[in-house]
Symmetry: none
Subunit: 201 residues, 4 copies
DNA sequence: AATGAATGAGGCTTCATTCAT
DNA sequence: TATGAATGAAGCCTCATTCAT
């Protein structure tokens, strides 16, 4: 992990942008504002990022990659699709909880943005999401999950619920903990998708 | 249902705005464009709506009220929390499927907008969502649903999954049917939240 | 003095306009505002006045004519240019004091407006001002005033001082009486400000 | 007197604005027009001035400060309140005569503008006017002026007359000299307009 | 004679972005 | 590489004014 001076400047800009976007909204935030807060000239921002939107789209790449690397690592250690799913939910919720500004940018300005779909930042996320799909498919194949499950739909349940909870959480100024939802959420999810006669985790 | 000339004009503007916002995005769309498409002067738009954002926020009021009225009507006719939940999911998905542009505006530009929260349009939606909560609480009280369910979390599962599916659907240009997901979705949901020994719906 | 219904409407509009212009400023005031306050439709205002500026320019005609008629009447009764000048100053100040909103419109929006110069309303004022010039010229001819006086300049002193005082008065929300200045003002005008026995300037 | 490039640009804009406002009127003038004439982009104007009205209000600061500095300097050199008053009148009239466009902006668009009162530009003027008051008070104290003079009223006579003359001058396209009025004006102010031996009213 | 509803016309203002240094 | 200064481009919005009723 080489961190040249340049690399540090870039990351400083990204972090500041995350913060400013989260606080003020993407449209409402201005480059001037970000530059001032990051103690960098406006022109410097354009040294690193092609446009304001490009800056926004660059925000998730790094944290997402790191998150999904950790996720991949954990999934290797865990046995059982149910347990893996619990780990996934936990890791995601924990990550959002610890990076509320990043969560806000992701939930409020990136998901729902069609242009983001064609972005390398989105590619990283898609890759990560594939891990979830794979766990679900494994669960179905192994018989741990119901055989008639639609993997896409099941993943939608997992991600949709998380997104809904996190979005509410960031929009209301995150008054209470996200983590508290992990266990009951997993319970409901698994009860719904596991084989009725499964001996369970 | 009195529909004065004025009322018709207003609705025409709302419908056009929905369409233009859905196609071009809120920021990208211009008042000029909407005015031209609605065959109305720009100034006329401002006769009815105070600002471009005000116009956006006025879009859901009517359709949402109608949808939730229909929902309330149906829920009265149906017995059983599980069956009611199926009706809810069906009505929502069916409505989005039949009004893809409205669905797009709602999913991409309204939910996730903090300012929308203070809006009368959002109030209508909040009222409607309360119906869902009530059904879940009824199910828990009647013993049809598991007693340890968290109603907020359960509602988050229902709405989150729907939102996720609909958002994907509008962002990808809605290639296939939404309705197809209703039954498997309800199956998974109910299997997860119903009492294990419930004799079923 | 025929006052048809129409004439009453017109006067109502003029009075309301005077009030609104005085309170909010000419540019800041809107026709809508005046119409609402006068309990008249916007279109009705345009029945009587060609434009917003035309409305403004129509304000002084009547009151000015009345004021200068009174002035002419009084001047006939009074002997001596000095006494006449006192009457003039008194009448003007008294009139402004009793019609502060009219005074505001006159001082803030009419004088200093080049377009107003070509107006019949301004014509009335010009006629009235001529009376003042005539009194000054009479005073010079009769030997009551200094023979080397420049009548234009002298009139400028009288009017300029009054305008300055009234302008200050309307701009500060007219806290105190205008009339108090009449006597000292006349004294200074007639006698000058230096000590009679001063050996020099 | 440091004059950076930026400072020059700013002054260029102010000078152009003065000219354009004087020729076309404040409302009638457009930012586009000023920008074009000053060979500067519209956006550049907003780099230096927050709003069109802010631009207007910024016009008098510098020239007024300079004028009042010169005035203060002269007043120190001159003995006698009467002579000082003559100097004041001369300096003001001379300054307006030499800067007719500035005079127009000041007389037609700034004095009489309530919002201008809260401005730093107006503050400078208020400070300057205080010098005049002081001279009058000195004259009274020293016995050179009548002991019963009201200083505020006397100042109003001086300023009011000047303002009236200058306003007329700018509104009529300044056909003739302003300076010609200085001596007779001062004479009348100091000596009054009645014959010294008049038997009086 | 009176009006409510509709609009034409255009100005101010804002930023993302660039460029000369 | 870094920046302060400059601007191009365009959109929102406001009203005075008109017109059909």
């Amino acid at each position: 992990m080489v961190t040249t001076k340049t690399e540090l400047r870039k990351q400083k800009i990204l972090d500041t942008a995350t913060k400013v976007f989260a606080q003020r909204g993407f449209q409402e935030a201005t480059i001037t504002e970000i530059a001032k807060e990051a103690k960098v000239s406006e022109a410097s921002i354009y040294e690193y990022f092609s446009t304001k939107e490009g800056l926004l789209f660059s925000i998730p790449a790094r944290s997402s990659r790191e998150l999904f690397e950790v996720m991949a690592f954990h999934l290797k250690l865990i046995r059982g699709a149910g347990n893996k799913l619990r780990a996934i939910v936990y890791l995601l919720m924990d990550s959002y909880q610890n990076h509320p500004e990043f969560a806000a940018v992701l939930m409020l300005f990136l998901k729902h943005n069609k242009k983001f779909l064609d972005t390398s930042g989105h590619h990283v996320i898609k890759e990560g999401v594939r891990q979830i799909t794979r766990v679900i498919e494994e669960g179905i194949e192994s018989g741990e999950f119901r055989g008639d499950l639609n993997p896409y739909l099941t993943r939608a349940m997992v991600l949709g619920t998380i997104e809904h909870l996190v979005t509410n959480w960031v929009m209301t100024g995150h008054p209470d903990s996200l983590i508290q939802f992990v266990d009951p959420l997993i319970d409901s999810l698994l009860a719904g998708i596991e084989q009725a006669d499964a001996t369970t985790k």
